[in-house]
């Protein structure tokens, strides 16, 4: 198997608290979004992947190696943790450079790489300032810089977009895309789902330490045949359209938002799409727009964790 990461029946518990439970999942090369609400086990899983924690049971291979405290793995691995911690008295550049030196790079190489990494995350102007004076976004970018500075094969990024302003967020997402295009693999955890969705189609959903779903957003949607879906319609005669829709057997509910907007909840989206053109032709309700509000990852996620 060509998976970057292979987990089999992985379990991790802290006393009586379950961090991960019977998790079997593979990660393919490219960008993968690791999603789940707070407490889902994303950070625990990432810490096991980077070898900071040992699984309580099961097996994990990262780049075909057992990760715990495995220094042979670390040249190929970059990790940006979630916790907001840096060496406060050092400059951002000094921090990244020091970690590169720890990784075995020569002084000149470490200096050049640290400078380049700080530029990549857009911190070149502030890189010689002490970390203790950095804003939350700058600290986040410094954490990313130390993760990418040694040019690893696999980047494990725990909530990497937290604390970034919209401009920086876009810049960092561009960086992620360019790293992926350069052949790097990224695992990006988040609970801000639209960010991950715009970054990748490949997702792993965790909930309460268990694997909830894995695949593309489309794959997961196709699994949800019984999932009631909602379609928002905007029409001049919304009330008449609502009356017609509510008579259909597959329609569960019609909510009239106002005189011109309604939301239809159906068990068979395909049937609704087939019937709607005929209804529009007959009723002439002045349909202006139609939008499936739950076609995005957010709704899939909400449904799955219910």
């Amino acid at each position: 198997m060509n998976a970057l990461i292979e987990a089999h029946n992985l379990g991790k518990w802290y006393g009586e608290v379950i961090g991960l439970s019977d998790l079997s999942v593979n990660f393919a090369p490219g960008i993968t979004g690791l999603l789940g609400p707070n407490g889902a086990g994303k950070s625990t899983f990432m810490r096991i992947i980077v070898g900071e924690l040992k699984p309580s049971r099961g097996e994990l291979k990262v780049l075909d190696m057992t990760p715990f405290a495995n220094r042979k793995l670390y040249p190929y691995l970059g990790f940006a943790p979630q916790q907001d911690a840096l060496y406060e008295s050092m400059t951002g550049y000094g921090f990244v450079r020091h970690l590169l030196r720890l990784g075995g790079f020569t002084r000149s190489d470490a200096s050049a790489r640290a400078k380049r990494a700080m530029e990549q995350v857009g911190l070149q102007d502030a890189m010689n300032r002490p970390c203790k004076g950095y804003s939350k976004g700058m600290r986040q970018r410094t954490r990313l810089a130390q993760a990418i500075a040694h040019d690893p094969e696999l980047l494990v990024l725990d909530e990497p977009l937290t604390g970034l302003d919209p401009v920086a967020r876009r810049q960092i997402m561009e960086l992620f895309r360019s790293l992926a295009e350069a052949g790097k693999s990224l695992i990006v955890s988040s609970h801000v789902l639209h960010e991950v969705q715009s970054l990748t189609d490949s997702i792993v959903l965790l909930h309460r330490g268990r694997l909830l779903a894995q695949g593309t957003v489309g794959d997961i949607r196709s699994l949800l045949s019984s999932h009631p879906r909602e379609v928002a319609l905007s029409a001049r005669k919304a009330r008449e359209l609502a009356v017609a829709l509510v008579a259909r057997p597959h329609v569960q509910r019609v909510e009239l938002v106002d005189d011109e907007n309604l939301v239809v909840r159906t068990r068979q989206l395909d049937a609704l799409y087939e019937e709607l053109p005929g209804m529009v032709q007959n009723l002439q309700p002045g349909l202006r727009s139609m939008k499936s509000s739950d076609a995005n990852l957010e709704s899939v996620f909400d449904f799955l964790v219910q």
């Binding site: 980077v50 405290a69 990790f79 907001d84």
Partner: protein, 264 residues
Amino acid sequence: MQPIAQTFFVAGHQARQLLSSRRFWMVVVIALLPPFLAHLTVDPERPMHHFAPVAVLLSLNILAPLAGLLLGSTVISEEVEAKTLTYVFTRPIPRVSLFLGRWLACTLVVSAVLAISGAYVGWHADQFEPASFSKPSHGPLPAGLAMRFVGAMVLCGALYTTLAAGLSTTWRRPIVFGLGYAFVWEMVVANLPGSTQRLSMQYYLRGLLIEPSPDSFERRLPPFILQAEYLPPLDSLTRLLGFMVFLLIVGSFTVRRKQYLLSS
């Protein structure tokens, strides 16, 4: 870099960090106390009379252990507390090198500061030619005692640094356990009469200073210290070094295998 080079790299970095830390200045203040007291309380007629309590009771029993514990407790637990351990533990460097490098830096810094402190106390007491030799406690310092005192200070600092470093691989607040050990356990055990004193590090540290000859330093020490039979200095030194190596082995083993939970 090879593991040994990595150890020295970590040590160099850690030493630089330590020198700008608050804890270092606390250690400096602690180390300044014996010279200050020696200067303040010395009686030129009876230098030994003051050297003994300042050297043994204050420096070796209290201040050097405290200095060692203060810096040694930073070795691993400081990074755990600051939640920066992740960065160093996900680099291609053995965890043992990180532990030993940081321990080495702390030990060197503590040893240097305590050596200067001890050297001043010893040198200061050695300056005076007493007028009267009528009582044992009025005599000059025995030959070589000042040097042995400096050695004992350095070793004491290194030992307690190592103890705290070992504790820091397991507990988040090693200083609490270290202080408990140094000032509850050792204070009691090291000062009980009889062979129970052998269960303390202080017993062996005193053994570095006390020679079993009738005119030596031992005759000027407080009686409770003299209620034990001391090993020859070389034997004491061997046992102390052995204990230090044992602590380092336990610390290295722990740091290699332990999972450190850094809650976010």
